[in-house]
Amino acid sequence: MSDRPTPNHRARWSVLLRHGPSLALLFIIALFALLDWQFGSGRFFSSRNAGVIVNSAALVAVPALGMTMIIIAGGIDLSAGTALTLCGTVMAIAFRDYTIPADQAGAATWIALALALGLGVGILCGLINGLIISLSEMVPFIVTLGTMTIFLGVGQVLAEESTVYPQNTHLPDWLRYLCYTGSNTDYYWFSFLPIPSSALIAIVLGIAVALLMHFTVFGRNIVAIGSNPLTARLCGIRVGLTTTWVYALAGVFVGLGALLYFANVKNGNPSDGTGKELEIIAAVVLGGGSLSGGRGSILGTIVGALIIKTISSGCTMLSIPNTYTHIIIGVIIIIAVLIDGLRNGKPKWLFARLASG
């Protein structure tokens, strides 16, 4: 009868809700496996398709790790998508114009420089966002909305408004097969473990960020700032400095994401990034991140990326047109956030019903 959920109700739900994203993923996999077995080609539940899903999820998950930190700190980064393709474009240009064929002596230095350049652009993009946000105290949404367009424009200028194709011979083998999902086990890092290298990278990075968030002062300060920046300031946490670091660090993940993306498509097209930021943010939100700050989960974000990619893959297998896939993912995001609200006793009307019923 009360307008607040009683502790009993919460306790009953919270166990399920804590693992909500993972349970949802299992449910979605089971659902598509069943549908595909009945109506589709039966290829959904195959190791090859699993590799494809995991690889494409890794491409979203790596930049989403940085986004998770930003969202926990109470911010948002709309420029992540175009920053990512800007990095990719810079790498592509560097490989096209400044490296020598990968099998020649001394190529390694140039390759390292090209990759470092791409990564550096990512950090720079993040640093620009962070500095503008903390120095001007403008809303992150507006700042990154601006830089989103700026990064897109810069990319287009650099790429001379076209797609940059580096010579295939300039790319080292390890880079070309970073996102390999085929059946030749020689192209995987561990031939006994045919998991795409991109996914292994995402897992290692995910563990690193989770450790950073839980076991370091920096991580706890991020949570503090996201929960209440005024309290953080009162406690002597340097809010502006920490915020700048968070965006710069997220820039590292944008750069690494760009590296994976470049390895996947092997070209640089600055316009590809438009809309990617929303997929990245969706992964964080599906994983339980709260856009009001202070809450988010690394495991959740990775699961969120898997959910999105499982759905698109499943829809493809069932020959559902791409347009409908968008609708389905949109609906799932809204339902996920609604269900996640149960943890905080929202919506109230539902709990009012439960209590009186």
């Binding site: 009360s2 370091t216 706890r220 949570v223 929960s227 009162l234 406690c235 340097r238």
Partner: protein, 497 residues
């Protein structure tokens, strides 16, 4: 006597917590009933039950002999029960008129009937003494006191017979409290029944006729105020004798520590010079807006200073919060809801915020040490919580304040800047906070204690300074002050200018 409102044996539980247990109460027309009890005693739940926000599990309520079972706040209002909350619930960007009529505007097909509405608004505003202010003025531009009165006017337009006040004076300076009391007097003489929650006993004495005391969800006493002493009320509230509301801890005042020289900021404080000593509790009195909070915030570098210097042990302090914190200054914010604590984080998380160096090496945390430390503080300042990972928002006001205070103690500061540390908390917790302040002084720390509650300043402090219009107008040893003189000093300088 005619009982207007009768509450009979109502109970309300939230899960395992019993908030109200067989509570009975009567309120009479033309009388003010003071509802007294410590935080967590069930006063707010009772008030919310009366105003329709909660529905009781058992028991009955009646108004004028007719059964009263409000389905919700709107239903309660239509039965003549209105509530004025402790925290203002006005929309700052709307006009006064719109705020008063919010939710009860007379409309025809969604269109406001402005002229008819204005008459009702004007009448209500006259009744609360706001006739000099235009109903079209923006609400956010009014003082806190005026906004409080707007809330009362809002209750009046709905033709309320019973008005519930939830600690209305906790955010008001003394002069405005008088004004509010006059209004309450008028309402009483017009035959309304008033139920008034307050933590201040002397306030209750001034305004109320009857009392009802709640403790742990039970009614433990009720009657006429003229027939009970303060000590008896307090022992009803806490369930034990509080011999000493203001426990004194002997402490010795030593040499000068913090030297403030002509500190000026825009708009306040102005030209404040002070020398604070080791082992001293220094009280700061003054009206709201006199610059007391701003003085503390300037000392903690949360607010830029225009000129003047602050020296600790002779060394000038740098202009950065964390540098001042490291130098040994600590601030307890006046606003624990929006600034003092991160409400959606756990007690442990709040306690450790900014204190991480205590259990980390090279930026890496030792989580065990952290939770052990949190448990220690929870025991030490007696925070009543289910477990250290409980969310701070779920704690009562007094326990929240203890969390904020414990964090400051964990910081192990030398100079404690306490801004209204006892605001909105119960008598028992207040006494504990006074004791902690005394213990700090006994350890040779310096405490600056800003408060609007004069009796506590006079009881706890070694010296008290009065601020007015940004200036520290007068500083005296506490025994040379009394309440009237303090009030006069706070008001006098205002009139000079």
């Amino acid at each position: 006597m005619n009982a207007l409102l009768e509450v009979s044996r109502i109970s309300k539980r939230f899960g395992p917590t019993i908030a109200l247990d067989n509570v009975s109460m009567t309120a009479q027309a033309g009388r003010v009933l003071a509802l007294i009890g410590e935080n967590g005693a069930g006063k707010s739940t009772l008030l919310k039950t009366l105003s329709g926000a909660h529905r009781p599990d058992h028991g009955t309520m009646s108004i004028d002999g007719q059964s009263y079972r409000p389905a919700g706040p709107i239903d309660a209002r239509s039965r003549g029960v209105a509530i004025v909350y402790q925290e203002l619930t006005l929309a700052p960007d709307l006009s006064i008129e719109d705020n008063i009529m919010l939710g009860r505007s007379g409309t025809v097909a969604g269109t406001l009937l402005r002229s008819r509405q204005r008459q009702r608004v004007q009448k209500a505003m006259d009744q609360v003494g706001l006739s000099s202010i235009s109903p079209k003025a923006r609400t956010g531009d009014q003082s806190v006191a005026t906004q409080q009165l707007i809330e009362v006017a809002r209750a009046l337009v709905s033709d309320a017979k019973i008005i519930l006040f939830d600690e209305p004076t906790s955010s008001l300076p003394a002069a405005d409290v008088d004004r509010l009391f006059q209004i309450v007097d008028t309402l009483r003489s017009r035959g309304l029944a008033i139920i008034y929650i307050s933590h201040f006993l002397e306030e209750v004495r001034r305004i109320a006729d009857d009392y009802a005391v709640l403790r742990d969800g039970h009614s433990v006493g009720a009657g006429q105020l003229s027939q009970i002493s303060d000590d008896q009320i307090i022992s009803l509230m806490v369930g034990r004798d509080v011999d000493d509301l203001f426990p004194a801890v002997p402490h010795e005042i030593g040499s000068a520590r913090l030297d403030i020289d002509r500190l000026t900021a825009a708009p306040v404080p102005h030209n404040v010079s002070l020398s604070l000593r080791r082992g001293e509790i220094f009280g700061v009195a003054g009206l709201v807006g006199a610059g007391r909070t701003e003085l503390l915030r300037c000392l903690f570098a949360m607010q830029p200073t225009r000129s003047g210097t602050v020296r600790l042990d002779g060394r000038p302090l740098p202009q950065r919060i964390n540098a001042r914190r490291r130098a040994g200054l600590g601030l307890l914010s006046e606003d624990r809801k929006t600034e003092g604590l991160a409400q959606n984080l756990s007690i442990t998380e709040n306690l450790s915020m900014g204190n991480h160096q205590r259990y980390s090496t090279l930026g890496c945390l030792n989580l065990n040490a952290r939770s052990e430390d949190a448990k220690r503080w929870i025991e030490k300042v007696e925070i009543k919580a289910q477990h250290p990972n409980q969310c701070v928002a779920e704690l009562s006001g007094g326990n929240q304040q203890k969390v904020a205070l414990a964090r400051l103690l964990a910081q192990d500061a030398e100079i404690y800047l306490l801004d209204e540390p006892t605001k909105g908390i119960d008598v028992g917790t207040k006494a504990e906070i006074y004791r902690i302040m005394g213990q700090l002084a006994a350890q040779g720390k310096t405490v600056v204690f800003v408060s609007s509650y004069l009796p506590e300043l006079l009881a706890v402090c070694d010296r008290v300074g009065v601020m007015s219009r940004g200036r520290m107008t007068e500083v005296r040893v506490t025994k040379d002050w009394n309440e009237e003189e303090l009030m006069l000093a706070a008001l006098a300088a205002t009139e000079d200018e």
